[in-house]
């Protein structure tokens, strides 16, 4: 570990110790938050939302009409998810999400963002040249497909509803959820069946 990292670790430890000493927060409360986001809240939540939308047309309609409420039906909500809007991919439109100013992200359904989502390169480039950025992620879209980039704000967090892969008619909702990757819900990938040709 470098000295620069030691310095920042010392600053974090000093701040935590002071705030606990002043009685503003408890070590247990901090532990609980960290444990929650390290172990319980992650893209598996969003995958369940997507799989439900794939098998239940009425749920998909509710998800389109009011993402926050439909996501709450499955028990997910809260921090960085106060207002969630679900944007649906179609054969003609591919959606991708970003937060150009910081790294707002729909935590309740995707967990905390990966490093690349927080990078200045992604934040600036996906708006200016989305097709090029997506191809760097290995996603080459037909030129006829319109790409819509959704910039998260203080008020709204977006979740991409990927298209259900072909040939999955016989799969159960749980099996479908396993096909839904984090990146497919950010829009830097599509949902695919392992071993099958991807779209």
């Amino acid at each position: 570990m470098s000295h620069a990292h030691d310095d920042v670790a010392v600053r974090a430890a000093a701040l935590e110790a002071l705030l606990v000493e002043k009685g503003l927060i408890s070590t247990d409360a901090i532990d609980a938050v960290v444990d929650l986001y390290e172990n319980d809240v992650g893209p598996q939540n969003g995958a369940r939302v997507v799989a439900r939308a794939w098998v239940d047309d009425a749920y998909r309609e509710r998800l389109r009409a009011n993402g926050t409420a439909a996501i709450a039906e499955l028990g997910y909500g809260g921090f960085e998810g106060d207002t969630m809007v679900v944007v649906e991919n179609t054969p003609a439109v591919h959606n991708v999400i970003v937060c150009t100013l910081c790294s707002c992200y729909p935590w309740p359904v995707l967990g905390l963002p990966p490093a690349w989502y927080k990078s200045s390169a992604y934040r600036s480039r996906v708006v200016a040249e989305p097709r090029a950025v997506l191809s760097e992620f290995g996603l080459t879209l037909d030129p006829s497909v319109e790409i819509r980039v959704w910039d998260s704000t203080a008020e709204v967090r977006y979740l991409v509803l990927p298209m259900r892969p072909p040939g999955t008619e016989s799969l159960s909702e749980a099996e479908l959820a396993a096909l839904v990757s984090r990146d497919s819900m950010v829009g830097t990938a599509v949902a695919t069946v392992p071993g099958a040709e991807s779209a």
Binding site: R11, L15, L19, A32, V33, V34, Y37, G42, G75, S119
Partner: protein, 121 residues
């Protein structure tokens, strides 16, 4: 937002939870997780307003954007997070520069001491 809501998320996860699909560590170092947890716990306790904090985070990220190699790969994100948290708490006079500096010096001394006696170099 309260931790009650957060824990409802855990409960809903249940034993049928899918394997995590995140594909990478959520935090790259223990201090990152502590800095994250402190900010959220402060918000849950009503000690800071998350939107005030977020505005400062945006400002810190923007202020470092021009620096060579900074922010490029997103790995310094939690440094900016800690900068923003300190700034908000100093501004609201929850903590002072002096007590932060004093506590940091004490911790640095303790860690150096542990290091000298705990490892061979």
């Amino acid at each position: 937002m309260t931790s009650g809501t957060l824990h409802a998320v855990t409960a809903a996860d249940g034993p049928e939870a899918l394997p995590r699909l995140n594909g990478e560590l959520v935090f790259n170092a223990p201090w990152e997780s502590r800095a994250f947890g402190v900010a959220i716990a402060l918000h849950d306790a009503g000690a800071i307003d998350y939107e005030v904090f977020r505005s400062r985070l945006i400002a810190e990220i923007a202020a470092h954007a021009g620096e060579h190699g900074t922010g490029e790969d997103g790995r310094d994100y939690y440094e900016r997070w800690l900068d923003a948290l300190e700034h908000v708490l100093l501004e609201q006079r929850v903590v002072s520069e002096a007590e932060l500096g004093e506590r940091a010096a004490g911790i640095a001394h303790d860690w150096a001491h542990d290091h000298d006696h705990g490892h061979e170099h």
